[in-house]
Symmetry: C2
Subunit: 167 residues, 2 copies
DNA sequence: AACATGTTTCAATAAAACCTGAAAGTTTCG
DNA sequence: CGAAACTTTCAGGTTTTATTGAAACATGTT
């Protein structure tokens, strides 16, 4: 397989995967581009490679900075801004986990805590509701702890434990 | 907090969460409804509760059946079909993990395996590309194994191991 | 067969998400 | 200051995705 073809395909696939991780397609594609680039890229270069507009490039780069998985790089003597991606897959995953925890798990936990205060009026509906919410809360809290551990863990420690688990 | 209010809020929140799990909003809301219902519901009842059309209800119920997290129930003497959700949070999570693995992780693994065959022409670009792909592949494979274990695991065994991990 | 009861499909429509490009804004430097 | 170099914003246009509702389809029942 040729390089340009492989590159094309990876960017495409990354676009889809990123999408299911809560990024959007373009965001994920910019990220893929930066992942495989040997050097930081400017907005200009990104626009060109992906054939997207300046506004689009700008907005999605900002979103990536927001997620904390891309950073600005200044090159001495140049006024343009350049961008590079965190390349270590492990830190990348940790960062994504951190964001998703903040954006998704925490809000639902908040709601679950709120609605678990529903007044018990003795009807079956309420009883069932309380039961379901309790279970969900329990699960969500366990997941939250697990995620937190993941986020804080060292790579080697984590995988070693997991490998033990898998055996 | 009153029941109807709590119910409303939970359905709303579940809609959002479900969305970030790869379901769509309505699908997730139907699911929430079935989770807290004390009895199986008919299409009619679902339409009413969520104020959605028949077509919409039908399509999303089908999608939930497809994901394997909702099942049909027939009530003797009734012609209508009723639906109920798997209520055990743990099996639910397992089922979602199973589907997402199939729908997301496997496709990207396939691509990663393909593009890792990129011919090494000695340029820096190719070198970097091969390195990145190798790392990603490694990570994706580890995740795949972990997911598989999760999917196959017994609840108690899994959480016990995790609790040990967390300590 | 005609009817009643329920389910599925799908073309049209509506809503949401996304992208563009030009204009406005900012920073740097002579 | 004023111009050049670069970045950000945002109204309007495009694409994608979700929803409706009515017609077609099934499956009994009389």
């Amino acid at each position: 397989m040729k390089y340009t073809e492989a590159k094309e395909e990876l960017i495409q696939a990354w676009g889809n995967l990123g999408y299911s991780w809560g990024l959007n397609k373009t965001m994920a594609q910019i990220h893929a581009l930066l992942m495989i680039s040997t050097k930081p890229l400017s907005t200009e270069e990104i626009m060109q490679e992906l054939a997207i507009s300046r506004g689009n490039a700008n907005m999605n780069i900002r979103a990536l900075l927001d997620w904390g998985i891309v950073s600005r790089v200044s090159i001495p003597g140049e006024r343009k801004e350049y961008f590079k991606s965190e390349k270590d897959t492990w830190s990348l995953a940790r960062q994504v986990a951190r964001e998703r925890r903040k954006r998704e798990l925490e809000p639902i936990l908040k709601i679950l805590r709120e609605v678990s205060e529903v007044s018990n009026d003795g009807t079956d509906e309420t009883k069932e509701f309380r039961k379901v919410v309790k279970d969900l809360k329990n699960f969500a809290e366990k997941s939250d702890n697990l995620l937190e551990t993941f986020i804080k863990a060292e790579e080697s420690w984590f995988w070693n434990s997991i490998i033990k688990l898998l055996k």
